[in-house]
Symmetry: D2
Subunit: 92 residues, 4 copies
C-alpha cells in the first residue's frame, strides 16, 4: 500500500482532469488558437501538476519518510536523501 | 495562422507524448507505485510542458510580438504587456 | 543607455532591499533561528529577485528587443534567441 | 541548536557570496550594463539561493522533522504540515 492510498481517488481525478486539459491544448494548437491563450492553458496544467506533486510529497513524508525515520538505521538516511533529491527536481 | 504554425507538428507530438505520460502516472497510482517514482514522473511531465511553453514563447515573440512592434502604436504596447504577463505565469 | 534606465532607481532600491534581506538571513543563521523561518525568508528573497527579473525582462523587450525587431535583419534574430535563452534560465 | 548547525559555516559562506552577487548586480545597473547580462546574473543568484534552500530543507528534515516524527503525537503533524507548506513556497 502506497503512502497516498487515501488520496488515490482525488489524485486520479486530478490527473484525469490534467489529461483532459492536455488534450484541450492539442485542440487549441490544431485550431491555430492565439499563442498567449495556449500559454495560459499550459501554465494552468503546470500548476495543476504541481498540486498533485505537493499532495504526493505531503503523503510521502507522512507515510514512507515517517516510517523510515521511526525505524532509524540505514533506511532513514535513504528516505531523507530521496526526499531531498525529489524536492530538488521540483525546485530547480 | 498562428505564430507557431511551422512548429505545429512538433508541438502536437510533444503534447501527445505528455498526454501519454499523464496516463502513465494514473496507472502508476492505480497500481500503488512508490511515491518517489510517481514524483519523478511528474517532474518529467513538468519539464516536458516547460519545453512546449518555451517553444511557444519563442515563436510568439518572433511572430505576433515582432509584428506588433513593427506596426508600433497601441498594439505594440498590448503585445509587450501580454508577453510580460505570460512570462510571469511561468516564472512565479 | 540601457533599456531599464527609467526603472533604474526602482531596481536599485529593490536590490538594496534584497541585499539587506540576505544579510538578515545570515544573522538568522548565526543566531540558530528555526529552519522553517529561515526558509520562509529565502523564499521571500527569491520572489523579490523574480520581480526584479520580470521588470528587466519587460523593459528589455520594450527597449532592446523592440529596437532590434524594428531594424529586422540579423540583430532581430539575435535578440529573440537571447530573449528565449534568458526566459529558459528563469523557467527551468 | 538548529538542525543546520553543522552546515552553518557553509551556509554563511554561500550567503555572503550571494550578498556579494547582489551588490554586483547593483553595480551592473548603475553602469547601465546590458539587460541580458543582468538577467543572467539574477538567475545565477536565484540558483544559489535555491541551493541554500535545499541544504536547509535537507537538514530540517533530518533534524527537526525526524525528531518530531520519532516523538509522534501532535508535534509530528505540525512538523509535516510545516514542511509541506515550505515546499509549496519553493515550488509554486
Amino acid at each position: 500500500m502506497a503512502s497516498y492510498s487515501e488520496q488515490k481517488e482525488d489524485l486520479l481525478l486530478r490527473l484525469r482532469r490534467i489529461e483532459g486539459q492536455v488534450r484541450g491544448i492539442q485542440r487549441m494548437i490544431e485550431q491555430d488558437k492565439y499563442c498567449v491563450d495556449v500559454l495560459v492553458q499550459i501554465s494552468a496544467v503546470r500548476s495543476a501538476l504541481d498540486s498533485v506533486g505537493l499532495i504526493l510529497l505531503d503523503q510521502h513524508t507522512r507515510g514512507c519518510v515517517a516510517r523510515a525515520l521511526r525505524d532509524e538505521g540505514e533506511q532513514a538516511e535513504t528516505a531523507i536523501a530521496e526526499l531531498t533529491d525529489v524536492m530538488k527536481r521540483f525546485i530547480k
